[in-house]
Amino acid sequence: MIASATLFGLCGAALIGLGLYGFVVQAHLLRRLIAFNIIGSGIFLLFGASGARDQLASTDPVAQALIITGIVVALAATAFGVGLVLAFAKVTGQTHLPEESDARQRPLKAGLPDRSVQTIVKDPAG
Protein backbone atom coordinates (compact mmCIF):
# COMPACT_ATOMS: atom_id res chain seq x y z
CA MET A 1 0.00 0.00 0.00
CA ILE A 2 1.18 3.48 -0.77
CA ALA A 3 0.80 6.07 1.96
CA SER A 4 -1.62 8.90 1.19
CA ALA A 5 1.04 11.47 1.99
CA THR A 6 3.41 10.08 -0.67
CA LEU A 7 0.71 10.07 -3.34
CA PHE A 8 -0.54 13.57 -2.63
CA GLY A 9 2.98 14.92 -2.36
CA LEU A 10 3.76 13.62 -5.84
CA CYS A 11 0.42 14.99 -7.01
CA GLY A 12 1.40 18.40 -5.61
CA ALA A 13 4.72 18.32 -7.47
CA ALA A 14 2.90 17.47 -10.70
CA LEU A 15 0.44 20.31 -10.10
CA ILE A 16 3.29 22.79 -9.72
CA GLY A 17 4.73 21.69 -13.06
CA LEU A 18 1.31 21.78 -14.71
CA GLY A 19 0.48 25.21 -13.34
CA LEU A 20 3.86 26.57 -14.38
CA TYR A 21 3.31 25.35 -17.92
CA GLY A 22 -0.14 26.94 -18.05
CA PHE A 23 1.17 30.17 -16.58
CA VAL A 24 3.80 30.53 -19.29
CA VAL A 25 1.80 29.28 -22.26
CA GLN A 26 -1.57 30.96 -21.63
CA ALA A 27 -1.88 34.54 -22.76
CA HIS A 28 -5.32 35.33 -21.35
CA LEU A 29 -4.74 37.11 -18.05
CA LEU A 30 -7.60 35.41 -16.20
CA ARG A 31 -6.33 32.01 -17.24
CA ARG A 32 -2.91 32.99 -15.98
CA LEU A 33 -4.50 33.73 -12.61
CA ILE A 34 -6.05 30.26 -12.60
CA ALA A 35 -2.69 28.70 -13.47
CA PHE A 36 -1.08 30.76 -10.72
CA ASN A 37 -3.61 29.39 -8.26
CA ILE A 38 -2.92 25.83 -9.40
CA ILE A 39 0.80 26.37 -8.73
CA GLY A 40 -0.13 27.72 -5.31
CA SER A 41 -2.31 24.82 -4.29
CA GLY A 42 0.33 22.41 -5.65
CA ILE A 43 2.84 24.00 -3.30
CA PHE A 44 0.41 23.73 -0.39
CA LEU A 45 -0.24 20.08 -1.17
CA LEU A 46 3.48 19.28 -1.45
CA PHE A 47 4.17 21.13 1.79
CA GLY A 48 1.25 19.54 3.64
CA ALA A 49 2.19 16.07 2.42
CA SER A 50 5.77 16.60 3.59
CA GLY A 51 4.33 17.47 6.98
CA ALA A 52 2.08 14.41 6.97
CA ARG A 53 4.65 11.82 5.89
CA ASP A 54 6.37 11.03 9.15
CA GLN A 55 3.58 11.99 11.49
CA LEU A 56 1.98 9.82 14.08
CA ALA A 57 -1.57 10.89 13.37
CA SER A 58 -2.59 13.81 11.21
CA THR A 59 -0.69 16.45 9.27
CA ASP A 60 1.79 18.54 11.26
CA PRO A 61 -0.24 21.31 12.95
CA VAL A 62 2.41 23.95 12.17
CA ALA A 63 2.24 23.07 8.48
CA GLN A 64 -1.56 23.15 8.64
CA ALA A 65 -1.56 26.59 10.23
CA LEU A 66 0.83 27.96 7.60
CA ILE A 67 -1.23 26.45 4.78
CA ILE A 68 -4.47 27.92 6.14
CA THR A 69 -3.01 31.42 6.21
CA GLY A 70 -1.50 30.71 2.79
CA ILE A 71 -4.83 29.73 1.24
CA VAL A 72 -6.51 32.88 2.54
CA VAL A 73 -3.67 35.11 1.33
CA ALA A 74 -3.78 33.36 -2.07
CA LEU A 75 -7.45 34.30 -2.36
CA ALA A 76 -6.65 37.89 -1.42
CA ALA A 77 -3.90 38.00 -4.05
CA THR A 78 -6.23 36.48 -6.64
CA ALA A 79 -8.92 39.05 -5.88
CA PHE A 80 -6.36 41.83 -6.33
CA GLY A 81 -5.22 40.16 -9.56
CA VAL A 82 -8.79 40.06 -10.85
CA GLY A 83 -9.09 43.74 -9.99
CA LEU A 84 -5.93 44.49 -11.98
CA VAL A 85 -7.12 42.45 -14.96
CA LEU A 86 -10.48 44.25 -14.97
CA ALA A 87 -8.81 47.66 -14.69
CA PHE A 88 -6.47 46.74 -17.54
CA ALA A 89 -9.37 45.60 -19.69
CA LYS A 90 -11.28 48.77 -18.91
CA VAL A 91 -8.42 50.95 -20.11
CA THR A 92 -7.27 48.96 -23.14
CA GLY A 93 -10.17 46.67 -24.05
CA GLN A 94 -7.69 43.80 -24.02
CA THR A 95 -7.40 40.63 -22.00
CA HIS A 96 -3.80 39.98 -23.03
CA LEU A 97 -0.67 41.91 -22.28
CA PRO A 98 0.43 43.96 -25.31
CA GLU A 99 3.79 42.23 -25.63
CA GLU A 100 2.04 38.87 -25.83
CA SER A 101 0.10 39.80 -28.93
CA ASP A 102 1.12 38.22 -32.19
CA ALA A 103 -0.26 38.19 -35.69
CA ARG A 104 -3.14 35.96 -34.64
CA GLN A 105 -4.46 38.54 -32.26
CA ARG A 106 -5.89 41.49 -34.05
CA PRO A 107 -6.47 44.70 -32.15
CA LEU A 108 -9.87 44.45 -30.55
CA LYS A 109 -11.53 47.65 -31.66
CA ALA A 110 -10.68 50.03 -34.42
CA GLY A 111 -9.90 53.36 -32.87
CA LEU A 112 -9.53 51.87 -29.45
CA PRO A 113 -5.90 52.82 -28.96
CA ASP A 114 -6.89 56.48 -29.19
CA ARG A 115 -9.45 56.09 -26.49
CA SER A 116 -7.16 54.15 -24.27
CA VAL A 117 -4.45 56.79 -24.63
CA GLN A 118 -6.92 59.50 -23.75
CA THR A 119 -8.06 57.53 -20.78
CA ILE A 120 -4.56 57.02 -19.57
CA VAL A 121 -3.78 60.71 -19.89
CA LYS A 122 -7.03 61.71 -18.28
CA ASP A 123 -6.92 59.33 -15.38
CA PRO A 124 -3.98 57.01 -14.86
CA ALA A 125 -5.80 55.02 -12.20
CA GLY A 126 -8.26 53.89 -14.87
Binding site: F8, A13, V25, A27, L30, L45, V62, I68, A79
Partner: protein, 334 residues
Amino acid sequence: MSGLAATGFDLMLCALILGAALAAIAVRDLFGAVVFFIVYGVFVALAWLRLEAIDVALTEAALGAGLTGVLMIGAVSRLERLTSRDQDQDAAGPQSPPTSSAARIATMVGAAGIGGGLAWGFITLPPSAGLQLAVAENLAASGVENPVTAVLLNFRGWDTLLESIVLLAALIALWSLARDQDWGRRPGLRQHARPGGVMATFGRLLPPFGFLLGVYLVWTGSAQPGGAFQGGTVLAAVWLLVMMAGLKAAPRVSSTRLRWALIAGPLLFIGVGLAGAVAGTFLGLPTAYAKPLILTIEAGLTLSIAATLALLVLGAPMAGDGLGPDQPDKEPAR
Protein backbone atom coordinates in the same frame (compact mmCIF):
# COMPACT_ATOMS: atom_id res chain seq x y z
CA MET B 1 -8.49 -4.58 2.75
CA SER B 2 -8.93 -1.16 4.22
CA GLY B 3 -5.50 -0.21 2.92
CA LEU B 4 -6.36 -1.36 -0.57
CA ALA B 5 -9.62 0.62 -0.66
CA ALA B 6 -7.85 3.70 0.70
CA THR B 7 -5.02 3.51 -1.83
CA GLY B 8 -7.51 3.02 -4.65
CA PHE B 9 -9.42 6.07 -3.47
CA ASP B 10 -6.23 8.12 -3.22
CA LEU B 11 -5.12 7.14 -6.71
CA MET B 12 -8.49 8.06 -8.16
CA LEU B 13 -8.54 11.36 -6.31
CA CYS B 14 -5.03 12.22 -7.57
CA ALA B 15 -6.16 11.43 -11.11
CA LEU B 16 -9.23 13.67 -10.74
CA ILE B 17 -7.19 16.53 -9.24
CA LEU B 18 -4.63 16.36 -12.03
CA GLY B 19 -7.36 15.95 -14.64
CA ALA B 20 -9.25 19.00 -13.37
CA ALA B 21 -6.05 21.07 -13.28
CA LEU B 22 -5.05 19.98 -16.77
CA ALA B 23 -8.54 20.69 -18.10
CA ALA B 24 -8.63 24.11 -16.42
CA ILE B 25 -5.47 24.94 -18.34
CA ALA B 26 -6.30 23.26 -21.63
CA VAL B 27 -10.08 23.64 -22.16
CA ARG B 28 -10.92 26.00 -25.01
CA ASP B 29 -13.75 27.85 -23.33
CA LEU B 30 -12.80 30.47 -20.73
CA PHE B 31 -15.91 29.81 -18.66
CA GLY B 32 -15.13 26.09 -18.86
CA ALA B 33 -11.70 26.80 -17.38
CA VAL B 34 -13.31 28.62 -14.47
CA VAL B 35 -15.76 25.77 -13.85
CA PHE B 36 -12.92 23.26 -13.89
CA PHE B 37 -11.11 25.42 -11.37
CA ILE B 38 -14.13 25.37 -9.04
CA VAL B 39 -14.39 21.58 -9.34
CA TYR B 40 -10.66 21.37 -8.70
CA GLY B 41 -11.19 23.15 -5.38
CA VAL B 42 -13.70 20.49 -4.26
CA PHE B 43 -11.25 17.70 -5.11
CA VAL B 44 -8.36 19.40 -3.31
CA ALA B 45 -10.54 19.74 -0.20
CA LEU B 46 -11.05 15.96 -0.36
CA ALA B 47 -7.27 15.48 -0.61
CA TRP B 48 -6.82 17.50 2.60
CA LEU B 49 -9.32 15.22 4.30
CA ARG B 50 -7.30 12.20 3.23
CA LEU B 51 -4.24 13.84 4.78
CA GLU B 52 -6.33 14.25 7.95
CA ALA B 53 -5.87 17.99 7.81
CA ILE B 54 -9.51 18.82 8.58
CA ASP B 55 -8.77 22.45 9.39
CA VAL B 56 -7.21 22.97 5.95
CA ALA B 57 -10.03 21.05 4.27
CA LEU B 58 -12.59 23.38 5.88
CA THR B 59 -10.77 26.46 4.61
CA GLU B 60 -10.27 25.02 1.13
CA ALA B 61 -13.93 23.94 0.90
CA ALA B 62 -15.21 27.36 1.94
CA LEU B 63 -12.87 29.21 -0.42
CA GLY B 64 -12.97 26.77 -3.33
CA ALA B 65 -16.70 26.13 -3.36
CA GLY B 66 -17.84 29.57 -2.28
CA LEU B 67 -15.67 32.60 -2.71
CA THR B 68 -13.35 31.60 -5.58
CA GLY B 69 -16.28 30.55 -7.75
CA VAL B 70 -18.14 33.80 -7.18
CA LEU B 71 -14.97 35.83 -7.77
CA MET B 72 -13.94 34.06 -10.97
CA ILE B 73 -17.39 33.81 -12.56
CA GLY B 74 -17.99 37.47 -11.83
CA ALA B 75 -14.60 38.27 -13.36
CA VAL B 76 -15.40 36.39 -16.59
CA SER B 77 -18.74 38.14 -16.87
CA ARG B 78 -17.35 41.63 -16.32
CA LEU B 79 -14.34 41.00 -18.53
CA GLU B 80 -16.54 39.93 -21.43
CA ARG B 81 -18.60 43.08 -21.06
CA LEU B 82 -15.52 45.29 -20.97
CA THR B 83 -13.89 43.86 -24.07
CA SER B 84 -15.37 43.80 -27.51
CA ARG B 85 -16.92 40.52 -28.53
CA ASP B 86 -16.83 41.08 -32.28
CA GLN B 87 -13.76 38.99 -32.69
CA ASP B 88 -13.62 35.29 -32.15
CA GLN B 89 -10.48 35.83 -30.18
CA ASP B 90 -11.82 35.06 -26.75
CA ALA B 91 -14.21 32.40 -27.92
CA ALA B 92 -11.20 30.70 -29.37
CA GLY B 93 -9.72 31.44 -26.02
CA PRO B 94 -6.27 31.55 -24.77
CA GLN B 95 -5.76 28.80 -27.15
CA SER B 96 -4.07 31.27 -29.33
CA PRO B 97 -0.99 31.34 -27.17
CA PRO B 98 1.60 33.82 -28.28
CA THR B 99 4.30 31.21 -28.20
CA SER B 100 5.53 29.04 -31.02
CA SER B 101 5.28 25.28 -30.74
CA ALA B 102 9.04 25.04 -30.13
CA ALA B 103 8.73 27.47 -27.24
CA ARG B 104 5.79 25.49 -25.90
CA ILE B 105 7.76 22.27 -25.98
CA ALA B 106 10.65 24.00 -24.23
CA THR B 107 8.22 25.28 -21.58
CA MET B 108 6.77 21.81 -21.20
CA VAL B 109 10.23 20.33 -20.68
CA GLY B 110 11.16 23.04 -18.21
CA ALA B 111 7.92 22.68 -16.23
CA ALA B 112 8.25 18.89 -16.22
CA GLY B 113 11.84 19.29 -15.02
CA ILE B 114 10.78 21.51 -12.12
CA GLY B 115 7.87 19.25 -11.20
CA GLY B 116 10.06 16.17 -11.45
CA GLY B 117 12.79 17.76 -9.40
CA LEU B 118 10.32 18.66 -6.67
CA ALA B 119 8.91 15.13 -6.72
CA TRP B 120 12.40 13.68 -6.43
CA GLY B 121 13.20 16.04 -3.58
CA PHE B 122 9.99 15.06 -1.84
CA ILE B 123 10.70 11.33 -2.10
CA THR B 124 14.29 11.64 -0.91
CA LEU B 125 13.39 14.00 1.93
CA PRO B 126 15.02 12.60 5.09
CA PRO B 127 12.49 11.44 7.69
CA SER B 128 11.77 13.99 10.36
CA ALA B 129 9.32 14.12 13.22
CA GLY B 130 8.50 17.72 12.33
CA LEU B 131 7.05 19.99 14.97
CA GLN B 132 4.10 17.82 15.93
CA LEU B 133 5.72 16.61 19.15
CA ALA B 134 6.82 20.10 20.18
CA VAL B 135 3.25 21.33 19.68
CA ALA B 136 1.79 18.37 21.57
CA GLU B 137 4.11 18.93 24.53
CA ASN B 138 3.13 22.58 24.91
CA LEU B 139 -0.53 22.24 24.00
CA ALA B 140 -1.60 22.31 27.67
CA ALA B 141 -0.04 25.77 28.08
CA SER B 142 -1.73 27.21 24.99
CA GLY B 143 -5.23 27.43 26.43
CA VAL B 144 -6.88 25.51 23.57
CA GLU B 145 -7.06 21.84 22.63
CA ASN B 146 -6.99 22.11 18.83
CA PRO B 147 -3.26 22.11 17.96
CA VAL B 148 -3.84 24.09 14.76
CA THR B 149 -5.61 26.88 16.63
CA ALA B 150 -2.84 26.80 19.24
CA VAL B 151 -0.24 27.35 16.51
CA LEU B 152 -2.26 30.03 14.73
CA LEU B 153 -3.14 32.18 17.72
CA ASN B 154 -0.54 31.37 20.34
CA PHE B 155 2.70 29.74 19.23
CA ARG B 156 2.92 31.56 15.90
CA GLY B 157 0.73 34.54 16.73
CA TRP B 158 3.10 36.83 14.83
CA ASP B 159 2.32 35.07 11.54
CA THR B 160 -1.41 35.38 12.03
CA LEU B 161 -1.23 39.01 13.11
CA LEU B 162 0.82 39.96 10.06
CA GLU B 163 -1.40 37.84 7.84
CA SER B 164 -4.50 39.73 8.94
CA ILE B 165 -2.65 42.93 8.03
CA VAL B 166 -1.68 41.49 4.64
CA LEU B 167 -5.38 40.88 3.95
CA LEU B 168 -6.07 44.51 4.76
CA ALA B 169 -3.21 45.60 2.49
CA ALA B 170 -4.67 43.52 -0.37
CA LEU B 171 -8.03 45.24 0.11
CA ILE B 172 -6.43 48.68 0.10
CA ALA B 173 -4.52 47.75 -3.05
CA LEU B 174 -7.74 46.60 -4.71
CA TRP B 175 -9.59 49.76 -3.72
CA SER B 176 -6.73 51.88 -5.03
CA LEU B 177 -7.62 50.63 -8.53
CA ALA B 178 -10.80 52.71 -8.43
CA ARG B 179 -11.00 55.98 -10.32
CA ASP B 180 -10.77 59.11 -8.21
CA GLN B 181 -14.38 60.06 -8.82
CA ASP B 182 -15.53 56.59 -7.71
CA TRP B 183 -13.92 56.85 -4.30
CA GLY B 184 -16.45 56.51 -1.52
CA ARG B 185 -18.94 54.59 -3.68
CA ARG B 186 -20.09 51.03 -3.12
CA PRO B 187 -17.76 48.25 -4.30
CA GLY B 188 -18.69 46.03 -7.23
CA LEU B 189 -21.74 45.96 -9.48
CA ARG B 190 -25.15 46.99 -8.15
CA GLN B 191 -26.79 43.65 -7.39
CA HIS B 192 -30.53 43.22 -7.75
CA ALA B 193 -33.03 40.39 -7.89
CA ARG B 194 -36.78 39.99 -8.22
CA PRO B 195 -38.26 40.67 -4.79
CA GLY B 196 -39.87 37.49 -3.49
CA GLY B 197 -38.32 35.45 -6.29
CA VAL B 198 -36.36 32.24 -5.91
CA MET B 199 -33.01 34.00 -5.56
CA ALA B 200 -34.25 36.49 -2.97
CA THR B 201 -35.96 33.71 -1.01
CA PHE B 202 -32.77 31.67 -1.01
CA GLY B 203 -30.94 34.77 0.17
CA ARG B 204 -33.29 34.97 3.15
CA LEU B 205 -33.41 31.26 3.91
CA LEU B 206 -29.73 30.40 3.94
CA PRO B 207 -28.06 33.15 6.02
CA PRO B 208 -29.41 31.98 9.42
CA PHE B 209 -27.93 28.53 8.81
CA GLY B 210 -24.73 30.00 7.42
CA PHE B 211 -24.38 32.34 10.37
CA LEU B 212 -24.93 29.45 12.77
CA LEU B 213 -22.32 27.35 10.98
CA GLY B 214 -19.80 30.19 10.86
CA VAL B 215 -20.12 30.97 14.56
CA TYR B 216 -20.09 27.26 15.39
CA LEU B 217 -16.83 26.79 13.49
CA VAL B 218 -15.19 29.65 15.40
CA TRP B 219 -16.51 28.47 18.74
CA THR B 220 -15.62 24.82 18.27
CA GLY B 221 -12.22 25.79 16.84
CA SER B 222 -10.59 25.84 20.25
CA ALA B 223 -11.08 22.12 20.74
CA GLN B 224 -11.94 20.70 17.31
CA PRO B 225 -11.21 21.54 13.68
CA GLY B 226 -12.39 25.06 12.96
CA GLY B 227 -11.35 28.57 13.87
CA ALA B 228 -11.41 32.21 12.87
CA PHE B 229 -10.29 31.63 9.28
CA GLN B 230 -12.72 28.82 8.57
CA GLY B 231 -15.65 30.54 10.27
CA GLY B 232 -14.76 33.93 8.78
CA THR B 233 -14.76 32.51 5.27
CA VAL B 234 -18.21 31.00 5.76
CA LEU B 235 -19.53 34.29 7.15
CA ALA B 236 -18.01 36.18 4.20
CA ALA B 237 -19.84 33.87 1.80
CA VAL B 238 -23.11 34.40 3.67
CA TRP B 239 -22.75 38.17 3.53
CA LEU B 240 -21.99 37.95 -0.20
CA LEU B 241 -25.14 35.90 -0.71
CA VAL B 242 -27.25 38.53 1.05
CA MET B 243 -25.78 41.18 -1.24
CA MET B 244 -26.11 39.06 -4.40
CA ALA B 245 -29.75 38.35 -3.63
CA GLY B 246 -30.33 42.09 -3.66
CA LEU B 247 -31.44 42.18 -0.03
CA LYS B 248 -28.80 44.59 1.17
CA ALA B 249 -26.48 46.82 -0.81
CA ALA B 250 -22.75 46.65 -0.29
CA PRO B 251 -21.55 49.29 2.17
CA ARG B 252 -19.83 52.39 0.83
CA VAL B 253 -16.07 52.09 1.14
CA SER B 254 -16.05 55.32 3.13
CA SER B 255 -18.41 53.93 5.77
CA THR B 256 -16.98 54.32 9.27
CA ARG B 257 -18.68 51.18 10.56
CA LEU B 258 -17.15 49.17 7.74
CA ARG B 259 -13.70 50.57 8.49
CA TRP B 260 -14.03 49.57 12.13
CA ALA B 261 -15.15 46.05 11.17
CA LEU B 262 -12.12 45.74 8.90
CA ILE B 263 -9.56 46.72 11.53
CA ALA B 264 -11.24 45.24 14.62
CA GLY B 265 -9.33 41.96 14.39
CA PRO B 266 -5.80 43.30 13.86
CA LEU B 267 -6.46 46.04 16.45
CA LEU B 268 -7.60 43.56 19.11
CA PHE B 269 -4.68 41.31 18.28
CA ILE B 270 -2.16 44.15 18.64
CA GLY B 271 -3.88 45.32 21.82
CA VAL B 272 -3.59 41.89 23.43
CA GLY B 273 -0.02 41.67 22.17
CA LEU B 274 0.87 45.01 23.77
CA ALA B 275 -0.73 43.95 27.03
CA GLY B 276 1.49 40.90 26.83
CA ALA B 277 4.48 43.17 26.17
CA VAL B 278 3.75 45.03 29.42
CA ALA B 279 3.62 41.70 31.25
CA GLY B 280 6.72 40.30 29.56
CA THR B 281 6.70 39.41 25.85
CA PHE B 282 4.80 40.89 22.92
CA LEU B 283 1.97 38.48 21.97
CA GLY B 284 2.86 36.27 24.94
CA LEU B 285 -0.39 34.91 26.37
CA PRO B 286 -0.29 33.93 30.07
CA THR B 287 -1.57 30.37 30.40
CA ALA B 288 -4.21 31.28 32.96
CA TYR B 289 -5.96 33.75 30.64
CA ALA B 290 -4.94 32.16 27.33
CA LYS B 291 -8.32 30.71 26.40
CA PRO B 292 -10.48 33.82 26.94
CA LEU B 293 -7.82 35.95 25.25
CA ILE B 294 -7.67 33.63 22.24
CA LEU B 295 -11.45 33.60 21.95
CA THR B 296 -11.52 37.42 22.12
CA ILE B 297 -8.90 37.73 19.39
CA GLU B 298 -10.70 35.12 17.31
CA ALA B 299 -14.01 36.96 17.59
CA GLY B 300 -12.41 40.16 16.28
CA LEU B 301 -10.43 38.34 13.62
CA THR B 302 -13.53 36.50 12.39
CA LEU B 303 -15.36 39.78 11.88
CA SER B 304 -12.42 41.36 10.07
CA ILE B 305 -11.62 38.32 7.93
CA ALA B 306 -15.28 37.94 6.91
CA ALA B 307 -15.60 41.61 5.97
CA THR B 308 -12.25 41.75 4.17
CA LEU B 309 -12.80 38.59 2.13
CA ALA B 310 -16.32 39.58 1.08
CA LEU B 311 -15.13 43.02 -0.02
CA LEU B 312 -12.16 41.51 -1.86
CA VAL B 313 -14.56 39.36 -3.88
CA LEU B 314 -16.83 42.34 -4.63
CA GLY B 315 -14.02 44.38 -6.18
CA ALA B 316 -13.10 48.04 -6.39
CA PRO B 317 -15.69 50.76 -5.77
CA MET B 318 -17.33 51.83 -9.01
CA ALA B 319 -20.22 53.74 -10.48
CA GLY B 320 -23.29 52.15 -12.02
CA ASP B 321 -22.59 48.89 -13.73
CA GLY B 322 -18.90 49.62 -14.02
CA LEU B 323 -18.81 49.25 -17.77
CA GLY B 324 -16.16 51.76 -18.58
CA PRO B 325 -14.66 55.20 -18.24
CA ASP B 326 -17.61 56.76 -20.06
CA GLN B 327 -20.13 56.00 -17.35
CA PRO B 328 -22.03 58.92 -15.88
CA ASP B 329 -20.94 59.72 -12.38
CA LYS B 330 -24.29 59.64 -10.72
CA GLU B 331 -25.28 56.42 -9.10
CA PRO B 332 -28.26 54.75 -10.76
CA ALA B 333 -31.37 54.72 -8.61
CA ARG B 334 -32.32 51.14 -8.03
